[in-house]
Symmetry: C2
Subunit: 200 residues, 2 copies
DNA sequence: ACCTGAACACCGTTCAAGT
DNA sequence: ACCTGAACACCGTTCAAGT
């Protein structure tokens, strides 16, 4: 398990091959099939391990509102460090997501959200956290892949400016470039908490 | 392009193979490489085609708040119909996402959100829409895969109830089972809009 | 310019044979 | 019970040869 997480981090999603893994563990290609159902199982188990660690680690805070932010940021940082986790979570619902949902639900309850609203508020916040983390991680990975981030965003903006059906305001590219992913992510969490407070 | 979208819808993400596609088009395996960079390009272009169609189709509504809901629901339904789109969007930022972001930004502006807040509010809403759609689509696909949905959720709940570090309230499983995905998705959009109204 | 399809370098998974 | 590694049935991509 640890070996496959290392492989995924180092080589990306395509780097996890049965051959590479069994070579790293210096065993035969067929050996892992005695411990795991197949490659998919490996990816799922690795994803759950990463998310589960974040959930258990983020238990320290007293203030529920701060605890929610800390938990959300923990997921964000984990997916930033392991981008394959973001892709996997969009592909397959996993046990760890269920634990994240209940953990967030409990904190929202501590915050004063009424019991009948907890499932809706909780799953909306979970969806935001996972969606935003995956989105930022994918963007960051692309930027790190040798592409110049600013040039890429500029190109995106120009490409879209050329789309006549949907013309762009002049400063769109600048707005795209000038922001900090982590701050913007947290601002989204706050929008959510404000909406829940206002409406539930 | 149309052929590969059909293949992806019918056979899933793994069903799009160069061999199946070229057989369907009754041409040689190497022929597509004269029109497209490779398989990844095919998946990216198909994803952009699906999203772009939703964006151009959802232009009818006058009230910006209703237009936002219609656009969000359009993305939700598209990803529900083409689940591979959800997975692809979590893996790679795409031009169509940029257009979605600006489209949502414009509508948020019409709704009265101040210009400096538009990028943050817009990307938060985009992240929610994409994350939630992918999540629900993945869950629905799993349920359709012959698994009994209720039994599966029940099992998830029991599995988690056995986790001693994080005990569950008794009715968690029931709450999981009794909801409509589409309604819950829209409730999340409304939480967002309420949060933006309250805070920006 | 575009297509063909054999060839190449990979995959995940299985399974008889070993320990 | 667990491991080995050859074998099998696939992949995506390339490229000399054709039209």
């Amino acid at each position: 398990m640890q070996a496959s997480i290392e492989l995924l981090d180092a080589e990306g999603e395509d780097g996890l091959t049965v051959r590479a893994l069994t070579a790293h563990l210096s065993t035969g290609r067929g050996a892992i099939y005695h411990h795991v159902a197949g490659k998919d199982d490996l990816l799922a188990a690795g994803t759950d391990a990463v998310i589960a660690e974040v959930i258990t680690a983020a238990g320290g805070d007293q203030d529920p509102s701060q605890a929610l932010r800390a938990l959300a940021l923990g997921i964000f940082d984990a997916i930033d460090a392991h981008p394959w986790v973001g892709a996997q979570l969009a592909r397959q619902p996993q046990p760890a997501i269920f634990r994240l949902w209940t953990g967030i639900g409990t904190l929202l309850g501590d915050l004063g959200v009424a019991e009948p609203d907890l499932p809706t508020a909780g799953s909306a916040l979970v969806s935001y956290v996972l969606g935003a983390s995956a989105q930022y991680a994918a963007g960051a990975r692309r930027a790190a892949d040798g592409e110049d981030r600013e040039a890429h965003l500029q190109q995106l903006a120009e490409q879209w400016a050329g789309d006549e059906a949907n013309p762009a305001p002049g400063d769109t590219a600048a707005l795209l470039v000038e922001h900090d992913d982590r701050d913007q992510f947290l601002a989204g969490v706050d929008i959510f908490l404000a909406g829940i407070a206002a409406q539930m």
